[in-house]
Every structure is written in C-alpha cells, then in structure tokens.
C-alpha cells in the first residue's frame, strides 16, 4: 500500500484538520465526535440539512457543506458509517429550531445509525433516503438499491429549497422527488485500499472491470472484460434509462462522476460518449456536472447519474451555492 499517511490511526483526523484549515472561510470542523458545520450559524427559521457517511468519498459530504447545500456533515471512519453521537452533536450545533433533515445513503450501517440518531433526537426531524443505484435490483432479496452519486444532486437541490425558506416537510418531499427522478450506475477498473486494512478491498485483473460497482468497491452486476469507453457508457446509460424511462425531449442533468483514480480527461471523454448516445435518443441534456464528487478512495472508475429535471428542480439546481467542492453564482 502506498498512501500519503503517517499512521492509519491519525489518517482521518489529519485529513479533517487539513480540510477545516484550508476552507476555514466556509466550514468549521469539530472533533470527538467528528462533524463539520458551516463557518456561520444557521439562519433563524431555516431547516438544517445534515448528511454523513463513511469517509473516503470526499468531497462528499464535508465538501458539500456551505451556503446553498448542507449545514453539517458527519464523517465516519473510512468506509464505515458515522455514529448517532456525531449526528446528535451536529444537530444540536446547527438546528435553529426549524427542524433537521437527515440525508442518508441507503447502506445498512448508515441507515441504522441515522435511525438511532433520529430516535434519540428531541426536536422535529425527517430523513431522505437516497437509493439511485440502478445496478442493484430493489427487491426483498437485497438490502435494496444503494445510495450513490445522486446524493450530491439531492443535497444541492434540497439545500437550495431550505435556503429559500422551504419547510421541513417540503424539503423532505423535494428530496424524495429528486431521488426518484435520478438513476446512477458505476464501473470500476481497479480496487481501493482502506488505510486500516492496508491491502486492496478486492482483486481485479488488469483486463477486468466490475460493472455496476458500489462506492466501496462492492460488486454490482457482473465482472467483465474491459471494453471501449463508448460501449461501457452505452451499457451504463441503457441500464439507467431502462429504470428512469426519460421521455424524448425530457430535460436531464448529466452527471459524470469520477471514483477518485480516473483523470478528468477520461471523465470528459465519457461525457462526450454519453452525449452521443443521449442525443440519438433525443434526450435533452440541460445541465451538466463532471468531476470527482462521490469517490471511492483511489479507485479507478466512474459513474453516470441522470436526473430528470422539471422547472422546480432546474431552479434549485441553478441557485447560488458556495461549498468547498461546488461553487457557482456567488
């Protein structure tokens, strides 16, 4: 294992310290329990958005704390869910009395820990569970579809509504809507190494790819031989389209997300290939996002997310945002 680290024990703490120091105009970091808030207190009457998950997916979620998005994020250990004490401490810090909306990715550990926090919490709270990963069949035979990159889209759009005075129930409803309007699927060329484990999460041959991979390298649909970018992109989009069923001329957000180890050069190539295919199907790309937002440590790989946009979603996507990882309009 080669990583920039001093010791596995200090890995997360040092990374959080660096993040907090580098972006002190935007965020404040707290330790034991670990959580990140905006540098400025929550506006009176504004619903607070709190998300969190295992570390190793940066910039999600700490990099999405700031004006127009999250009020707080709770980072767990690498690839391990955060715990209720973190969520409760974060909620106490940022709740202005208008309630807390938890945004949770559908992974067993995250779901259970956020559920316990919600049970222990005194004030009004709701949760949005994201499950945009179309690689996993949503049936009684699985934990259900995983929450992956569309979580970023949910946080952007609901963050805007909360900023503009949306109530707790309205924020929850919009979050559920964005999630339902989104579909994602990813592919990995390489594994990734959790610092504490010291060796790769899974083995994969030089000529192989994991098709439908989750954001911890957990398997999806199948192991396959690596194909051309256009073929991979087509297969990802076919799977998403089959699930989302966008109408011809429907406006969508095309989000090409890197898993951490794939250069932007390749992500833009994927964008080009995706555009080719969507153009053929008369699906209108209204908005775009390309970059590393929901990563899996140093994994080589990418995912595509499509979100169907109506007027309401477009408005909240375009509104001002100022976080460490996303900034526009201000």
């Amino acid at each position: 294992m080669k990583k920039f680290m001093n010791s596995a024990d200090d890995f997360l703490k040092e990374s959080l310290q660096g993040f907090g120091a580098a972006h002190q105009d935007i965020v404040s970091c707290y330790y034991d329990p670990n959580f990140i808030t905006r540098a400025t207190p929550t506006k009176e009457g504004k619903v607070s958005l709190i998300s969190g998950g295992g570390s190793g997916h940066e910039p999600m979620h700490g990099g999405l704390v700031g004006y127009g998005m999250l009020d707080a994020a709770c980072p767990g250990f690498v690839f391990s869910s955060p715990t209720p004490d973190q969520m409760l401490a974060a909620a106490e810090k940022v709740d202005s009395g208008a309630g807390v909306l938890f945004i949770v990715k559908n992974y067993s550990g995250d779901v259970m820990n956020f559920q316990m926090a919600a049970e222990m919490m005194q004030g009004p709270n709701e949760s949005v569970l994201t499950n945009d990963d179309v690689a996993v069949e949503d049936s009684s035979f699985t934990t259900g579809r995983r929450g992956v990159a569309a979580t970023v889209v949910v946080e952007k759009i609901v963050g805007s509504l909360a900023e503009h005075g949306g109530s707790l129930q309205e924020c929850k409803a919009l979050g559920d809507k964005v999630n339902k309007n989104s579909g994602s699927m990813g592919v990995a060329f390489s594994s990734c190494t959790v610092p504490a484990a010291g060796k790769p999460n899974f083995d994969i041959g030089d000529d192989e790819m994991e098709f439908g991979v989750g954001i911890h390298g957990e398997p999806g649909r199948r192991r396959d031989k690596v194909k051309s970018a256009q073929e991979i992109t087509n297969e990802l989009l076919d799977a998403i389209n089959e699930d989302l069923k966008p109408d011809a001329n429907e406006e969508i957000l095309l989000f090409v997300n890197g898993m951490g180890g794939t250069p932007l050069t390749e992500l833009y190539l994927i964008y080009d290939n995706a555009k080719n295919m969507l153009d053929k199907k008369n699906i209108k790309i209204s908005r775009s996002l390309v970059g590393n937002y929901c990563t899996s440590l140093e994994m080589q790989g990418a995912s595509i997310t499509l979100t169907k946009l109506d007027e309401e979603l477009l408005k909240h996507w375009d509104s001002n945002v100022h976080t460490a990882a996303m900034r526009w309009g201000m």
């Binding site: 391990s80 715990t83 820990n113 316990m116 484990a197």
Partner: protein, 209 residues
C-alpha cells in the same frame, strides 16, 4: 452476572477474536468490504478500556456505558447492532437487583430481539442473526425445560456453530453481501463467525467456571 464478569469475558473474547482475526478478515474480503474484523477488535478494546469507569457501577449503568461506547466507537452496522444489544440489556427489568443465569438469558433474548428489529434481518439471511437467534431460542428453551445450566450452554455452543456454518450456503439478503447475489454462496458470513466465537467464549467461560 457481575460487571467484573462482563469485563473478564470481554478480555477472553479479545484473545479469541485476535487468534482468529485473519480468518474473519478473509471471510469479509470475500463477501464484504474487509473492515469487520477491525470494527470488532476496536469495539472489544474500547469495552475493556472502560474497566476503570464502569467497575463500580450498577449493572444497568455499566451496560449503558458499554452500549454508548460500542455505538460511538465502532460505527457502521456492527456499532449500531451491538449498541442496540447492550442498550436493550441495560433496560432489562430489575437487573440492578442481581442477575442469575435465568435473568441473564432473559435480557440477552430481549437484546437479540431488538437487534433483529434494528437490522430487519431474520434467520436465513446470511448474517450474525443466523447465530444469535437460534442461540437465544436455545437458551430460552433450556430455561423453560429447566435443564442444567451447563447443559444449556453446551447446547448453545453447538447451536451457534451450526448457525455459523449454515450461512455458507445461504444467499445474502441483508447488508453488503446482498449485492453479490449468487456470488455470496459458498462463503461463511464474517459476522456470523465473529458472533459465534463470542458466544462460544462466553458460554465456555461459564461452563469452566
């Protein structure tokens, strides 16, 4: 059952888990994400480190401290599930007035039921519940049938082992292994293995006492 017993048993569990750590890690790498063993080891270490804080506490408070420590210190599913187990045991009826083996079995069974609710997993889903639920049922039945304690515990050790091995041929329907579909078959669930080892250690330490 005393607070001392809890701490002494945690120390025995630490030895057994450490002795089997590479096996558990390997099982988890086959069908999970490889961090289960670190979570379990961290949790046990944190419980043992609580000794000076809890050794003079009444049982409900000691169990509650263990619950909060496990919950916040482990994280992930293991933290929530083990935290739920201890938190529920801490709420056991009149436990501060002393715990005989019947009481211990009663609160353990209540804890297992709460874990089942939390994780929404039952027997047959390739999780640690394939060990905990049969063990809990076996213990309760033993008390109902008025069997000798050592007999009950010996049976529980066997039931735990059987439950652990049963996960091998199961399809996972809960947790990360569920994403593997058919690929999970043929692998023992790491959570079932670690909980089987813990059950075995607890039971044997009572049998040999």
């Amino acid at each position: 059952m005393s607070v001392d017993f809890l701490i002494e048993t945690a120390k025995k569990i630490q030895v057994v888990i450490n002795d089997n750590s590479s096996e558990i890690e390997k099982l988890d790498q086959e069908i999970g994400d490889g961090d289960h063993i670190f979570n379990v080891q961290r949790g046990i270490k944190l419980v043992i480190e609580l000794e000076p804080t809890i050794k003079d506490l009444i049982m409900s408070k000691a169990l509650n401290q263990i619950a909060m420590k496990v919950l916040s210190g482990i994280g992930g599913s293991s933290g929530a599930l083990f935290g739920t187990l201890f938190m529920t045991m801490a709420k056991g009826n009149s436990i501060d007035e002393g715990i005989d083996y019947k009481k211990a079995i009663e609160i353990f069974a209540e804890g297992v039921e709460a874990v089942k609710q939390r994780g929404k997993a039952d027997v047959g889903e390739k999780t640690m519940m394939d060990v905990l639920i049969p063990v809990s049922n076996c213990l309760k039945k033993g008390v109902e049938d008025d069997k000798d304690l050592k007999e009950i515990l010996k049976e529980a050790v066997e039931v735990a082992e059987k439950g652990m091995f049963s996960t091998k041929d199961l399809l996972a329907t809960k947790g990360r292994a569920s994403f593997l579909g058919e690929r999970a078959r043929g692998h023992i669930d790491p959570g079932a293995r670690s909980s089987q080892l813990m059950i075995k250690t607890v039971c044997e330490s009572v049998i040999n006492s």
